[in-house]
């Protein structure tokens, strides 16, 4: 009996970290970027924090109601965003540590946009048993770097529904591509 209890406790102890930790780690070197940034945002919200925050989101406020709906299925929200006074304060090697994790199994890049102006966007999705289990957005501009990791069942469509709320412009889906001579070349 004692052995069974011990075995159960050990199994629980070993199993806990798997579910308790985010599977994608924000690189440590990003913290150093904050020192060089004129503005930085560091948000780390795990499932318990999201649950706590969700309880304080109002159903009557349209913005908050939208977020409340979105957050109910999430396990974590992690954001690192940096704004710099001048260009060249970060290099793509700074985000390589996170990119390399996104090359791992389960992740697939659904969007990759690169321009010679240095405005790059990448969107990665994690498949979790046929469903979307997470989303990562890497948004790099010459003086701005943003990494967003949303852990849990989320659809990019749902996130884009935030457009028109919370000061995010609404995306006009009928907009046609504007030819911009400055933009050039795909990335890979």
């Amino acid at each position: 009996m004692k052995r069974n209890v011990f075995g159960f406790v050990m199994a629980m102890a070993l199993a806990m970290p798997v579910g308790a930790y985010q599977d994608l780690k924000m690189p440590v070197n990003l913290d150093k970027l904050a020192e060089r940034a004129s503005e930085s945002v560091d948000v780390t919200l795990d499932a318990s924090m999201l649950q706590l925050a969700s309880g304080f989101l109002s159903k009557d406020d349209p913005d908050e109601a939208q977020v409340k709906k979105l957050v109910s299925k999430l396990k974590g929200v992690y954001v690192r965003s940096f704004e710099f006074d001048k260009e060249g304060q970060y290099s793509m090697s700074d985000v390589e540590a996170i990119r390399s994790q996104l090359r791992g199994p389960g992740w697939s890049r659904i969007v990759g946009v690169k321009s010679i102006r240095g405005e790059n966007s990448e969107v990665y999705l994690k498949k979790d048993g046929g469903q979307i289990g997470g989303l990562v957005v890497l948004d790099a501009e010459p003086k701005e770097l943003t990494i967003v990791h949303i852990d849990g069942a989320i659809n990019p469509e749902e996130l884009s529904e935030l457009g028109g709320h919370m000061g995010i412009p609404r995306m006009d889906k009928t907009k046609t591509g504007k030819k911009d001579k400055d933009n050039a070349k795909g990335d890979q």
């Binding site: 945002v41 948000v43 954001v79 990759g112 946009v113 690169k114 943003t146 709320h165």
Partner: protein
């Protein structure tokens, strides 16, 4: 007898007290023999052994205070976390919006997928 002696005689002459004098004196005496409110409370406190409830009341007060403080702390933390979440969602939505915008903006060949 001079004038001073006359005045002294008048001042020391016998006068009858007012008719309610005895009543007033007795009433004052009665009031003084009654214990003051604080003393009565003290007496009641000891007679009923209510002092035994003091630790219980103190514990209840502390528990109530603790609960109220905890609720206040939780509310403050919840509001702070909510603000963080709204900022995170704003950044996430904006980043995705920019990505979509870039897809629309660049030529088809520039979009890699």
């Amino acid at each position: 007898m001079n004038e001073f002696e006359e005045q002294l005689k008048q001042a020391l002459s016998r006068r009858e007290p007012p008719s309610d004098f005895a009543e007033r004196v007795l009433a004052i005496a009665r009031n003084q023999s009654r214990p003051a409110a604080a003393a009565r409370l003290r007496l009641w406190f000891h007679r009923t052994r209510a002092w035994r409830l003091v630790p219980v009341l103190a514990a209840l007060l502390m528990m109530t205070g603790g609960t109220v403080y905890e609720q206040h702390r939780r509310a403050a933390r919840g509001e702070a976390v909510k603000e963080q979440l709204l900022v995170a969602m704003h950044i996430a939505g904006s980043s995705l919006h920019r990505a979509q915008h870039r897809i629309f903006d660049v030529e088809t060949g520039e979009v890699t997928q």
